[in-house]
């Protein structure tokens, strides 16, 4: 799906065989890296530190691309190469088809002013400037008139929900608010591209989650191309349209969150993925039973009863011939209707208490619903029936997506998660233990 999208969209940033080697005679490091020597081997041999090795990927306009890796994977070096705060040792970096590695200082400054903004892990707010003066900075150095830039800065502050905080100094603000200022400062110059270097990593988990949600909501409005760096896979999966996984300076895998999770490229990615709470990522669509039998309104009670008997069900969903979901019918009700010689299922179909969810409903939120024991119908935007979710189908999907990568005891852990909806892992396994006893 993403591939189709990407062919249509413009390429905003294109990295081609980018290398960054630290030390004297860095070109030799590139050479050795091209020969296939690992980061450690090169360091041992030449004392050169390879930061980024042969990285190539495209970022499409309006896309949020997350570069994810542990510390030392080269992700922070990479993002600094993109706006040339660090100069790449080799390779091309195209911004709107212009190779910025070839620009002179003046041209580079112009590109930085017009196209990029950067948000930093430690916020990097100027401590001697008030909040509003921080937000104005980008415009100020471009020589924008004082009134104009003040107005734009106020707008940007409003956008991040810090209306009225302009006169404070950064030291008076909490971490979350500081990063909002950082974001406002980045947005005030109206850049095409936001570079976010571990922007939320320094925030505590609740604030971080809020900021993630807000950035997603905000970007629905402002539609920037975002290159987002993180070491947190959960964050990567939540924020990213696509994810680039890095290790030791090179790219391990590029793909959508689903692709990374369901089809890890190698053991390294698998190990990452094993730690992810998969229920946050899978949606109703991924776990529903597609070929589940349904009763049509025109079927009549006897036909419906026979279908249930055939498939060993105590009830089934009723749909119109167009596919639109009408409701749920239990075997009892169908039998009663048959006794009453009803021709249609209309009267006996339960329309009100039927559970239905959209295709993209996260699996996590389904747990409380399957607890009741009633099946859930999955419908598309037109309320057309697409599939059924029962407790067993969630378990099956989770077990399947993990079967390749995890050890034998893990499915039971997952199962315990399903059995205890809404609780965190530890509590879940505790309860599972109790149940086992």
């Amino acid at each position: 799906m993403s591939d189709n999208n990407s062919e249509k969209a413009n390429v905003k940033i294109s990295l081609r065989n980018v290398y960054k080697v630290f030390g004297k005679n860095a070109a030799r490091g590139v050479e050795l890296s091209k020969k296939g020597l690992s980061k450690d081997e090169i360091l041992e041999k030449t004392k050169l530190a390879v930061g980024v090795s042969n990285v190539s990927f495209d970022v499409y306009e309006g896309e949020t691309l997350v570069v994810m890796g542990l510390s030392g994977s080269g992700k922070s070096t990479l993002i600094r190469c993109v706006n040339r705060i660090m100069d790449p040792t080799a390779g091309e970096i195209l911004i709107d088809d212009v190779d910025i590695t070839k620009l002179n200082d003046d041209e580079l400054r112009e590109v930085r002013r017009k196209k990029f903004s950067m948000v930093f892990q430690s916020f990097a707010l100027f401590p001697h400037r008030r909040v509003i003066e921080n937000v104005e900075y980008g415009l100020e150095i471009q020589g924008v008139d004082k009134e104009v830039r003040r107005e734009k800065a106020e707008t940007a502050l409003k956008l991040v929900g810090l209306d009225g905080w302009g006169d404070y100094y950064p030291e008076n603000l909490s971490g979350g608010m500081k990063q909002r200022v950082g974001l406002a400062r980045a947005l005030s110059v109206d850049p095409d591209i936001l570079l976010m270097d571990e922007a939320f990593s320094a925030l505590d988990p609740l604030i971080r989650s809020d900021m993630q949600d807000e950035l997603i909501a905000l970007n629905d409005r402002v539609r920037k191309t975002i290159l987002f760096i993180t070491h947190d896979l959960d964050e990567a999966l939540k924020m990213g349209d696509r994810i680039v996984l890095m290790k030791d300076g090179y790219v391990v895998q590029i793909g959508t969150p689903e692709e990374i999770l369901t089809n890890p490229a190698d053991e390294y990615v698998q190990r990452f993925v094993a730690n992810v709470d998969i229920t946050k990522v899978l949606t109703a669509q991924d776990v529903m039973k597609i070929h589940s039998p349904v009763a049509f309104v025109k079927d009549g009670p006897r036909v419906a009863l026979r279908k249930m008997k055939e498939h060993g069900l105590s009830g089934m969903f009723v749909v119109k011939s167009s596919g639109e979901l009408v409701g749920h019918l239990t075997a009892d009700k169908a039998a009663q209707a048959a006794k009453n010689e009803d021709k249609w299922l209309d009267q006996v179909t339960d329309r009100d208490s039927v559970l239905s969810v959209p295709l993209d409903q996260p699996v996590r939120t389904l747990f409380p619903m399957v607890e009741s024991g009633n099946p859930i119908a999955v419908v598309d935007e037109d309320h057309h029936f697409k599939g059924v979710i029962v407790r067993g189908s969630i378990l099956a999907a989770l077990a399947e997506s993990h079967s390749d990568s995890t050890s034998i005891d893990e499915p039971s852990e997952l199962a315990s998660k399903v059995l205890t909806p809404g609780s965190n892992n530890e509590a879940a396994s505790d309860e599972a233990d109790k149940e086992n006893n």
């Binding site: 600094r80 706006n83 705060i85 400054r109 112009e110 590109v111 930085r112 002013r113 990029f116 903004s117 950067m118 930093f120 892990q121 430690s122 990097a124 100027f126 401590p127 001697h128 900075y137 980008g138 100020e140 150095i141 471009q142 110059v189 570079l195």
Partner: protein, 287 residues
């Protein structure tokens, strides 16, 4: 002596002092016109200012100085300064203190005027910092008296030589701490300024100088203190002032006079230190 003779038998002595003297004599000849001009300007300037200050009644000058101290450092330090100045006046060293203060003032102005730009360059350029650092170490470890000797052939005996050797002796802290202040700024702040497309000048004026100001002020404070100590030593080449009183007391073996002048130096040092420290602290609070 024995080791030196032994050494001389095997390897001839390096004529280091001869070399330095020839270099200096060449330089003095080449630069004599310039140095003589500088000397005249300084001598006249200092003489003019000191002469003017001498015509003022001491109490007027004391009130002006205390007023400055009050404006910068507040009431407590102003009262202390007032009492200190009164005491110096009382023991008959007021005139000597004024001429010392003028020398310190001139030397500090020059040292800061040269040290600040050098410190900024050293703060921004790694290479220049690497070159400058050992030179600063050298300048600070060299015994202070040594600077007096070459000053004489260039500028002659008197205030100008005193100021020049004082500038050389007191400039290192300003250079060093300005460079340090710029270097210790959080890397991400500089990256942030860069990422928005700041020019080098914008980065310096809007970020690096304001943030390094407390450190720079601490450097200037040290420069002032070093200048005071050097101005006292420079009495040996005719700088006069409080140092001159001490020097005279040594020559006449009058410990009472010597201690009195020394005490006046201490009082002046304390006043200068407290007042300039307050400037640095205020900057820190504002930033």
């Amino acid at each position: 002596m024995g080791t030196r003779e032994l050494m001389g038998d095997i390897i001839p002595q390096v004529p280091l002092s001869d070399w330095i003297e020839s270099i200096l004599s060449v330089l003095t000849t080449l630069l004599s016109t310039a140095t003589r001009a500088v000397s005249t300007v300084f001598r006249n300037g200092i003489r003019g200012i000191t002469g003017f200050l001498d015509t003022l009644p001491p109490i007027v000058l004391i009130l002006v100085l205390v007023g400055i101290a009050w404006a910068i450092a507040g009431r407590r330090i102003a009262i202390g300064s007032f009492l200190g100045f009164l005491f110096i006046w009382n023991i008959g060293l007021w005139g000597a203190m004024v001429s010392t203060l003028v020398l310190v003032f001139f030397a500090t102005i020059l040292a800061v005027a040269m040290g600040l730009p050098l410190g900024i360059v050293a703060g921004l350029s790694d290479r220049f910092f690497l070159i400058v650092k050992p030179i600063l170490d050298f300048m600070q470890t060299m015994p202070a008296f040594v600077y007096l000797i070459p000053a004489i052939p260039f500028f002659g005996l008197g205030a100008t030589s005193a100021i020049m050797s004082t500038v050389i002796f007191s400039i290192p802290p300003t250079i060093r701490l300005t460079a340090l202040g710029i270097r210790q700024i959080d890397k991400e702040l500089v990256e942030a300024a860069d990422s928005f497309g700041s020019t080098t000048y914008q980065k310096l004026v809007k970020l690096q100088l304001p943030l390094s100001l407390p450190t720079v002020m601490a450097g200037i404070n040290q420069t002032i203190m070093l200048a005071l100590s050097m101005v006292v030593i420079a009495s040996m080449i005719g700088a006069g002032g409080l140092g001159g009183e001490v020097w005279r007391a040594i020559q006449r073996l009058r410990p009472g006079d010597g201690f009195a002048a020394g005490l006046a130096v201490v009082i002046l040092a304390m006043i200068l230190d407290r007042v300039t420290q307050k400037i640095a602290a205020q900057d820190r609070k504002a930033s």
